[in-house]
């Protein structure tokens, strides 16, 4: 039993940390940052080496995500990197070759349109439909919270076809795709998507029609595990900056970090973040078992725990910074907002707690 990062994971972590410390990203999609990630091999982290990737594992992803969380960079890595590459694995040999290598180099930026507002956090019931039309399909429906679609060249869309989930890869400019982009709370952007009579040729069908359900679920689990790990990085920085602030801030003739009530609250933050960290790693390691239920249980536990911990840490960080904690000026603000965005992505704490309790170990 060994919880240490290996050499590759350590190197990846360090180079991301150095980059983020240097560049201090503002949030949302930044072209130069995305290019840098491509050059570092991050985009193709889990893509097979045959397609120009690094052949990395979910544990490699967790190591990377914790660093990205530390930077609160909120590059659309989770959806454009982790989720998209997992979804594209469902394609046939030609599709994987073409699209995974394009993803790895950054030539294409993929958005993922899986969820619909009516189903709230769940994938189903899904109303977006793909009806056969000649050799191709026509798509109708709506999708919600499609992250960074504004900057994406391609969108991967899930639709129902003859009772089975089906995936399509379309250019974002395809006629019939009506985009409503909106800024997200963490400084990024996402979109509502309306599909009206969207024509998709057979070349746009990813993998086999009607059989994408398991692949979508797996991609979601991978992305959810990544969010849990990102959360840990966010929490770590929120906590560290709180402790640092408490050492500097003087009131009543002393550093406020000398007051026991505050010390105890900062210890509580530490305990929450360490608990979340344990489950983020546990979830990343769960993909070694190729059992869906084992993975889902682990991932749901991690996301729920990170959600609970993240909210406590964020609230306490603001509180213990006093008035300063309410300012936009403080970097803390970006972390708090990113934490909120993560909480409401791919299932919130209540959703995952319920998910967890429905799976027998």
């Amino acid at each position: 039993m060994n919880f240490a990062f290996n050499e590759t994971q350590r190197m990846l972590s360090e180079s991301i940390a150095r980059y983020l410390a240097r560049e201090k990203p503002r949030g949302g999609f930044q072209q130069d940052q995305w290019k840098h990630f491509a050059d570092m091999g991050l985009l193709g982290l889990t893509v097979s080496e045959d397609f120009g990737g690094m052949g990395g594992s979910p544990i490699d992803v967790a190591a990377v995500m914790e660093q990205l969380g530390r930077g609160a960079g909120c590059a659309p890595y989770v959806f454009g990197g982790v989720m998209a590459s997992a979804l594209l694995e469902f394609g046939n040999e030609t599709q994987r070759h073409r699209w995974l290598s394009a993803l790895a180099t950054g030539e294409e930026l993929f958005a993922c349109a899986m969820h619909e507002n009516k189903a709230r956090h769940d994938l189903l019931p899904m109303t977006t439909s793909a009806e056969g039309q000649g050799p191709g399909f026509v798509l109708n429906g709506t999708k919600s919270n499609v992250w960074h679609a504004e900057h994406a060249s391609k969108v991967i869309i899930a639709a129902q076809h003859q009772g089975g989930l089906t995936l399509f890869v379309l250019p974002t400019s395809t006629p019939g795709l009506q985009w409503h982009h909106f800024p997200t709370v963490d400084g990024g952007s996402a979109s509502e998507l309306r599909l009206e009579g969207v024509q998709a040729g057979p070349e746009h069908l990813l993998g086999k029609a009607g059989q994408a359900h398991d692949a979508i679920r797996l991609a979601e689990r991978r992305a959810t595990a990544a969010l849990a790990a990102e959360s840990v990085g966010l929490m770590a920085v929120m906590h560290e900056s709180t402790v640092d602030y408490s050492r500097q801030r003087q009131q009543f003739g002393q550093a406020i970090g000398g007051f026991q009530a505050l010390q105890h609250r900062m210890v509580d933050m530490l305990i929450e973040l360490e608990q979340a960290r344990s489950l983020a790693w546990y979830a990343a390691a769960s993909f070694d078992s190729h059992d869906d239920r084992v993975q889902q249980r682990a991932v749901s536990a991690a996301k729920a725990r990170a959600g609970r911990a993240g909210r406590l840490v964020a609230h306490e960080a603001i509180q213990l910074h006093g008035g300063m904690g309410m300012t936009e000026e403080l970097a803390l603000a970006r972390y708090v907002r990113r934490q909120l965005a993560i909480e409401q992505s791919l299932g919130d704490t209540a959703f995952h707690t319920a998910c967890f309790s429905q799976i027998d170990p």
């Binding site: 060994n2 010390q263 900062m266 305990i271 344990s278 070694d288 729920a304 319920a354 309790s357």
Partner: protein, 393 residues
């Protein structure tokens, strides 16, 4: 990063599980699982079974009777016995005093006391806390007047767990009244049969007799019963408290109790409350899973020979909170049934039917477990420790 147990470790787990299946007496298991307090004979019976197997003190150095197991193996051992519902042998002799004697005792003390701990001939209790010295242990006032051939002890200890069964006490006493607090404390081994010692029960709010006051009136303790240097007992106390802390989360016990909780929720199911309870149980179960892996991170670090530091305080705080949460949820799940209450003295008799008896035991357990966040270094003190050692505030 590889979070799997090795095949050897898995095989070891099966071995411990089989041992529990074969050797744990059914009546003891039933008592532990139903939260019935154990009596002296119960503890000694299980003690003898473990000792016969050579598993009473697995963490001791092999030359003194330990098993040479790795930290992961010890973790598995503790967890499996808890899962099975085995009694917990009081830690005072085997896990607290013994490591201290091994590190700081004279050859004579080691040769005399260690085998008696293993055999069960000596039952040790801990003379630390006093009415004026709880969290502020260094404020202790029990005096030991230094004579050439020994010490004259006068004073009082409190919260002395199971002193009613003990024949020995390790005791912190003040041997230098002029020195400031921590300096001037000595560590003595005291025979409970000596004249001048009185043990008085303290009944706790669960109705149990688990702890005691112990009074010393002109008790003479021979010089050879001093452990470590005169006036240097505080170092002994700290060593003892800092030792073997990787099991304080008590994951196995909480897992066992969680299973019981789920069964109770099923038995006492009610449309309005069950869904809410199930959600809270899921939250606790997730947190317990997290604690299990936080614990394993530390065990794994110890196995790799790394520095552990103050991190086990996290295990104590979280472990106690989760154990308490589970006990609270059990009382909630019982609902109106949790009105029933049994005084310990009428266990085994009484007019209650099985269901009420089980409910009464659970209520009593819930009350008893309010202590977990208080003893062994209160959770507030644990947070002070973490704040100082980890946050460096």
């Amino acid at each position: 990063m590889d979070l799997n147990f090795s095949p050897t470790e898995e095989a070891f787990r099966i071995e411990i599980r089989r041992f529990a299946q074969d050797e744990l007496p059914a009546h003891l298991q039933a008592k532990v699982r139903s939260h019935i307090p154990l009596n002296r004979d119960d503890y000694l019976q299980w003690h003898q079974i473990l000792a016969a197997k050579g598993w009473l003190a697995p963490a001791w150095p092999v030359e003194h009777g330990g098993c040479g197991w790795s930290p992961v193996q010890i973790h598995i051992f503790e967890e499996e016995l808890d899962l099975a519902g085995a009694p917990r042998i009081p830690a005072f002799g085997p896990k607290m005093l013994a490591p201290l004697l091994i590190a700081f005792g004279t050859p004579e003390q080691k040769a005399f006391y260690l085998p008696r701990i293993l055999s069960g001939e000596d039952w040790w209790c801990q003379g630390y806390s006093e009415p004026g010295a709880g969290s502020d242990l260094a404020n202790l006032k029990t005096r030991a007047e230094v004579h050439e051939d020994g010490f004259m002890v006068n004073g009082q200890k409190t919260w002395t767990t199971l002193a009613q069964h003990a024949n020995k006490m390790f005791c912190l006493v003040r041997t230098d009244g002029c020195a400031v607090k921590q300096k001037g404390i000595s560590f003595l081994l005291i025979d409970m049969d000596l004249p001048g010692i009185t043990v008085r029960p303290i009944i706790t709010l669960d109705g149990e007799h688990e702890v005691n006051e112990v009074f010393f009136e002109n008790v003479f303790v021979p010089r050879k019963n001093l452990v470590g240097e005169l006036h240097e007992g505080w170092a002994c106390a700290k060593y003892l408290l800092g030792h073997e802390r990787l099991h304080i989360a008590q994951i196995g016990r909480s897992k066992r109790e969680l299973k019981l909780l789920k069964r109770i929720v099923c038995d006492h199911s009610h449309a309005l409350h069950t869904a809410r309870l199930k959600e809270r149980i899921a939250e606790v179960e997730i947190d317990l899973l997290a604690l299990e892996y936080t614990n394993l991170r530390l065990v794994s670090e110890a196995q790799a020979g790394g520095e552990i530091g103050a991190q086990p305080s996290i295990l104590k705080i979280k472990g106690s909170e989760l154990a308490q949460a589970i006990s609270e949820l059990m009382v909630e799940a019982l609902g109106p049934r949790s009105l029933s209450f049994l005084h310990t003295h009428i266990d085994g008799d009484g007019p209650l039917d099985t269901e009420l008896r089980e409910a009464a035991s659970i209520v009593r357990q819930y009350l008893n477990w309010r202590k977990i966040s208080i003893f062994g270094g209160s959770n507030e003190i644990q947070k002070n420790i973490l704040s100082k050692a980890v946050l460096k505030l």
